[in-house]
Symmetry: C2
DNA sequence: AGGGATTATTGAAACGTTTCAACCACAATC
DNA sequence: GATTGTGGTTGAAACGTTTCAATAATCCCT
């Protein structure tokens, strides 16, 4: 591997000259510049980015940590992050938090491999993030509550979202509504449930869940919960699933049992992930402003990088998207 | 930022000792090891990964280059790559080829920031890849044909896939089949078309496309092409879209015009991306072994990294998945 | 008590850059 | 002809690690 030393030697100049020349510094005369560049191409020289970053103490890249690179992760959100990053002439790399303490994510959080980081990964521990705070290293965490000097929180109004979902069903005349929850320790889940309850109490309906409906935030979770519901005899007239994936699973379970959504049971989800508009029936759901979250997160990173200290907390609105999986009673 | 020097000083040892201690070398006595570690936690020391990588000339990470981090990129494929990478105790980072010559992708290809790279990005030029070949730097390119010392090709049997799609329609009695192509300079597109033609000629059907049906590999592409088809008067009895995204757009266009898929027209796609099974109707398509592609690609990287020179070319099989968007005539 | 063998510790070089401060040659100014 | 200036070039230090080779400390045998 040719280094800049080799280039300098071949061009017959000092290594500092070679460096200036390759970075197109105005100090260098056109003649030597040409010599150096010729030498570089002749040796097929490629700069070592690690050395450069180390010296400059700056990587010009920001990291995006996702719970799983392959998951149905919010592609809209990534787009938001990416566009802002690109327009600031930074690089963006995505890595996964899979693997716990020895995951790539931790490596990037701690080892100064990026200039700032956006964390969207519920499976990465708050503790790890707190351990990674250091001066001048902005961290934007999505969907969690964490306070430290350089940490910025961006989240979505889950409570209002849950409220909207429930209100929609109530307005449509449903009385017997069931909340199909995700993991009980998930903050998202709790807040959505909270909003759901708020809507019910507003109508003075007392919600008494007869059994514990909570599963994973996955298709299987929704599927099995729906099976459970059907086994309990009396069907509710509507369910509100804590996320879209669960709703997909639930709808599938109902349909497999010959039930018609929305005629036999209305279903509303949460997230508005891309595929739910292609379902049969298309899913009524609560939309998160995913693109906006992403671009906001990235903007905040750059603001912090530029020395402005942005506000530490942002909550973005949610919106009800009515499709055909719900019907008036 | 505390460096190892600070740790050494605080612990009262030489920096080499500190380094050995932090890396848990057996040379160091338990006593000093403890001292060093205490000092490290007290200073909240975090190692600088760049410095380490530079010194070791090894990053222990492999890069995955995608055409667009946010796209509906093959999440199955990524999963394959990720699992293999993780089990080899390497890190995986994904980056986008958006931005052409100054994209993050190029940075990672050229600047020695990763130990190997997998390229799945049609929009990155062959030339760039060729410029990045260097000894001991394995590059796996997916879905393109490129020969150089350290380049390995992995692709899918597009020809046979196209053949399968066409044969399925022919077997179902369709005579008037239209090929809805993607970008004409796309190799995937060409090969799928080739397979399509092979099936027709096998039945001695001469395919004379009355107009040029080619668009982008996107939903819009399929949508507008379908509109075009409908404007031409006589509807074919089936179409074969060069990828699923286009098929989705086409189905949508047909349905908007009141046509029934598959009763008025059969549609088959290519790729078997996740959402097509949730469409209404679920799409008949040709499945690519995405997971296998990913894990194969990663395996090959590690093989090369271990000094074995693997075969330079791999072609994976495709498979027809019959769903409800096609019907017998 | 002396000498070899073992174990712990350390100084210094190296990885490949960038950049400061010094230097040089030469022209311009008074 | 001495000073000042200028544009071009360079040596050396620095970034934060790891690791070799050398030294220092400890131990065990006779």
């Amino acid at each position: 591997m040719a280094t800049i030393k080799d280039v300098a030697k071949l061009a017959g100049v000092a290594v500092s000259t070679a460096s200036y020349a390759l970075n197109n510094s105005s100090k260098i005369s056109p003649g030597t510049k040409r010599k150096v560049i010729d030498a570089a191409v002749q040796l097929n020289y490629q700069k070592n980015g690690l050395a450069r970053d180390l010296k400059l103490n700056k990587t010009q890249t920001i990291g995006l940590i996702l719970s799983d690179l392959s998951g149905p992760f919010y592609s809209e959100l990534i787009k938001g992050v990416q566009e802002v990053t690109l327009s600031n002439e930074y690089d963006l790399i995505a890595c996964s938090s899979l693997g716990g303490y020895s995951s790539t994510a931790v490596k990037f959080l701690k080892e100064k491999r990026v200039d700032g980081v956006i964390v969207l990964a519920a499976n990465i521990d708050d503790l790890i993030i707190m351990e990674s705070v250091r001066e001048d290293f902005p961290i934007v965490v999505l969907d969690r509550e964490l306070t430290a000097n350089s940490i910025i929180n961006v989240s979505v109004d889950n409570i209002h979202g849950g409220y909207l979902a429930a209100k929609h069903l109530l307005d449509a005349g449903h009385q017997d509504i069931l909340f199909v929850g995700g993991p009980p320790n998930s903050r998202d889940n709790q807040l959505r449930y909270q909003g759901f309850l708020n809507a019910l109490t507003e109508r003075e309906i007392h919600y008494t869940p007869k059994w514990n409906l909570e599963g994973k935030f996955t298709r299987e979770g929704g599927y099995y919960t729906a099976k459970m519901i059907m086994m309990q005899g009396k069907l509710p007239s509507a369910i509100f699933c804590a996320n879209d994936e669960m709703a997909i699973g639930a709808v599938q379970a109902f349909q497999e049992s010959g039930l018609q959504v929305p005629f036999d049971i209305s279903v509303v989800g949460f997230d508005d992930i891309e595929i739910v508009q292609y379902m049969n029936p298309p899913l009524t759901t609560v939309k998160q402003p995913k693109y906006e979250m992403g671009s906001l997160a990235a903007h905040l990173i750059f603001q912090a990088l530029n020395g402005d200290i942005p506000t530490r907390e942002y909550v973005l609105p949610t919106e009800l998207i009515v499709r055909n999986s719900t019907i008036s009673k």
